[in-house]
């Protein structure tokens, strides 16, 4: 009975929702993967492992690793079936499969905002402690804590996600601003005014439907939506001030504009930036891939620097975004799946690959000065050398983030309501909007 419960609700929702439109659209959301890769088909007796992700790039890493694994471990070969599904569909399918107890893959990627949903109730994921604990002191530990509950580490991260400032050197030169002279956010605003005055372009862009502008700033100041005891602190003084700061950048100092398309991942936005729409952009290191893929005209023009600080000695970065790869408890060979996952993402070699294959800042900092990491690649030629020297410098300045089961609900409030009311409509003050959001999250808390 219990197994069917989740499935039945889905059908009920489908009936209500899909039949309303004539029922012909239900089929368009179910079904085929966007892309699929299979390794080791030809090896007899290979153990089959399936892997779900929502990012096609991530499959490259696992494909590469599976090939190598089969070469090094002829006694226990694997047959890897990797599949990419659309973001929502993959997470929904995974959560329903885990809820109903059947249909989940061996390995899966879970994005950080969704992760807390998978830690509710009896966790249906395998703990990775035996592989994580020995390596923890060589890793940026905060990134493992994101995917942990009750001292069990469930997810293995792809990257540190250090947030940095991307400057368009060409525009900054035109405005006569030396980017290395920008140390504090006050400097940044002054420089911004100069850019606007001299070039007519915006200093930066602000997200209004996602939180990659607000949350890094909050985290940089050591705040969050929840404190270490899981209490809601969405409307604390720091958060209100920070949201006010973002609003001021747009309306008071007039150095920022709302990102076209509402977010830094919108098609409209890529075109806007590619045409030199704004002089700088605050995003994590992993955003480099988007520059390379979608903004080819900026090659060689971008410079990466740490974030301006709020006060002297303050943090110059924040760890943002991320995805944890997990082994589910429905795996038929969990030990092999865990060993393979550790092999793919925890070893030194694996962490080098995270950079060379995916262009991510690997969580293991003992590889950052590795010779292989310095070999020329497309990231260096686009963004110049010295990325990891800078990262080593700011590594200690990543504040821990406390994720609770209600985190995704809090984020949802911010993205759907707070940012819109404060930054777009200006209907509410930061204080009002954040207090209401905190109330909304509280009212939804299950415990």
């Amino acid at each position: 009975m219990k197994k069917l419960t989740g499935f039945m609700l889905l059908i009920f929702v489908m009936l209500l929702a899909a039949c309303g439109g004539g029922g012909d659209t239900a089929s368009s959301s179910a079904g085929e993967a966007d892309a699929a890769v299979s390794v080791g088909d030809d090896i007899e007796g290979a153990t089959e492992l399936s892997f779900w992700t929502f990012n096609e790039q991530h499959m490259d890493l696992f494909e590469d690793s599976a090939k190598q694994w089969n070469e090094e471990n002829p006694d226990k070969p694997i047959k890897l079936n990797a599949q990419t599904y659309p973001f929502d569909q993959m997470h929904n399918n995974l959560s329903l499969a885990l809820q109903s107890g059947t249909g989940a893959p061996d390995l899966a990627d879970i994005e950080i905002r969704q992760f807390s949903n998978f830690l509710k109730g009896d966790v249906q994921l395998e703990a990775m402690n035996e592989y994580v604990e020995p390596e923890l002191d060589k890793n940026v530990e905060a990134r493992f804590d994101l995917y942990a509950k009750d001292d069990n580490y469930y997810g293995i991260p792809y990257h540190v996600g250090a947030t940095v400032m991307y400057y368009n050197q060409e525009i900054m030169d035109e405005a006569g601003v030396d980017i290395d002279s920008i140390v504090t956010w006050d400097d940044y605003i002054e420089a911004g005014k100069q850019v606007v005055e001299k070039t007519g372009k915006s200093m930066t862009t602000v997200e209004t439907t996602e939180q990659f502008t607000l949350f890094p700033l909050i985290s940089q100041r050591g705040s969050n939506y929840f404190d270490e005891n899981g209490e809601i602190i969405m409307d604390n003084e720091v958060n209100v001030e920070t949201l006010q700061f973002v609003q001021d950048m747009i309306y008071k100092h007039e150095i920022a504009v709302a990102a076209p398309g509402g977010k830094h991942h919108a098609e409209e936005y890529y075109g806007f930036m590619n045409n030199g729409g704004a002089a700088s952009l605050m995003m994590p290191i992993w955003y480099m891939g988007r520059f390379i893929d979608y903004m080819p005209d900026l090659e060689g023009k971008m410079q990466i620097r740490p974030l301006p600080v709020w006060e002297e000695g303050g943090n110059r970065t924040a760890g943002i975004g991320g995805t944890g790869t997990v082994v589910t408890n429905q795996s038929e060979s969990p030990d092999l799946a865990k060993e393979f996952l550790a092999y793919t993402k925890l070893t030194e070699e694996a962490n080098v690959k995270l950079w060379t294959v995916l262009g991510f800042d690997p969580p293991r900092f003992d590889v950052w000065d590795n010779e292989e990491m310095k070999a020329d690649n497309k990231y260096y030629s686009y963004f110049h050398d010295g990325i990891f020297d800078m990262l080593s410098e700011i590594r200690e300045e990543i504040a821990p983030i406390y994720y609770t089961p209600d985190y995704s609900s809090a984020q949802h409030e911010v993205e759907s309501t707070v940012l819109y009311n404060v930054l777009v409509q200006q209907k509410k003050t930061p204080q009002e909007a954040l207090t209401e959001a905190a109330e909304a999250v509280k009212s939804k808390q299950t415990d």
Partner: protein
Amino acid sequence: MVNDPITNKLEEASSDRVYKKPSKLAFLNSKKVAPYVFISPFIISFLILTLYPTIQAFIMSFQRVLPGNVEFIGLSNYERIFNPTFFLALKNTTLYVIFTVVILVVIPILLAVFLDSKLVRFKTIFRASLFIPSLTSIIVAGTIFRMMFGESDTAVANQVVTFFGLEAIDWRYNSWSAMFLMVTLASWRWMGVNVLYFLAALQSVPKELYESADIDGANVFKKFRYVTLPFLKPITIFVVTISIINGFRMFEESFVFWETSSPGNIGLSVIGYIYQEGIQQNDMGFGAAIGIVLMLIIFAVSFIQLILTGAFKRSDE
């Protein structure tokens, strides 16, 4: 029945067969069983795909459903429902229902009357072109709509707007234009189907009534008001009822513009809210509770509407 020669023959035939070739399946031919056999596909699919999930959802609405950890929590899901987001979703959905019902009843009646009149030529072409939108997938149509109503000045809709000297509009970021987009998409899509309903109903209006109205000196509008409309009443009740039910179930019209999260929840429908809470936030018990509340709302609204329009009265009274 006994006097019906055909039935008698059939009975003879079947009893002959039973006599000649006794089979375990013979009872399927009996007059008492056969009707149930014929409707069983519907009954079975109804029981499995509609009734069972409905009962399950009702039970789940009193539970906290987590993997390996399902427990009854009384009414606490229902206590959490009546929050500002739910009311916003309900408000959006209600407005959407009102607009779509009005637009999808009034305009199709007028169009049907025009298409039925002798003055209009190329009727088949008009009928076909009105009907074609309902054959498209709403996802495909929605994608096209989203591009037409893009934020840039070069998007079709904004070119039209700026042509009239107005400022370009951020269609997907204002609550009024969000509603406009959803209602327009639904209206465009369902217009043709409703026109067909009304066209069919118009065929049943007796021509003599128009003739006698002519003799009495009624003008076009009076004929429409006192002859055509009364005959369209039953079909109008039908169209209003399904429009209300479909309106409250609205999901795709919002999904194609904003997927699952719209700025300031301007495009949030009640079903969208169920999807968000039940599936995305993995809170199935809460999702089920919203579903039950929505079911009651649809039931109540449809019931009131049917009573007010007199659908339960016999037509010859």
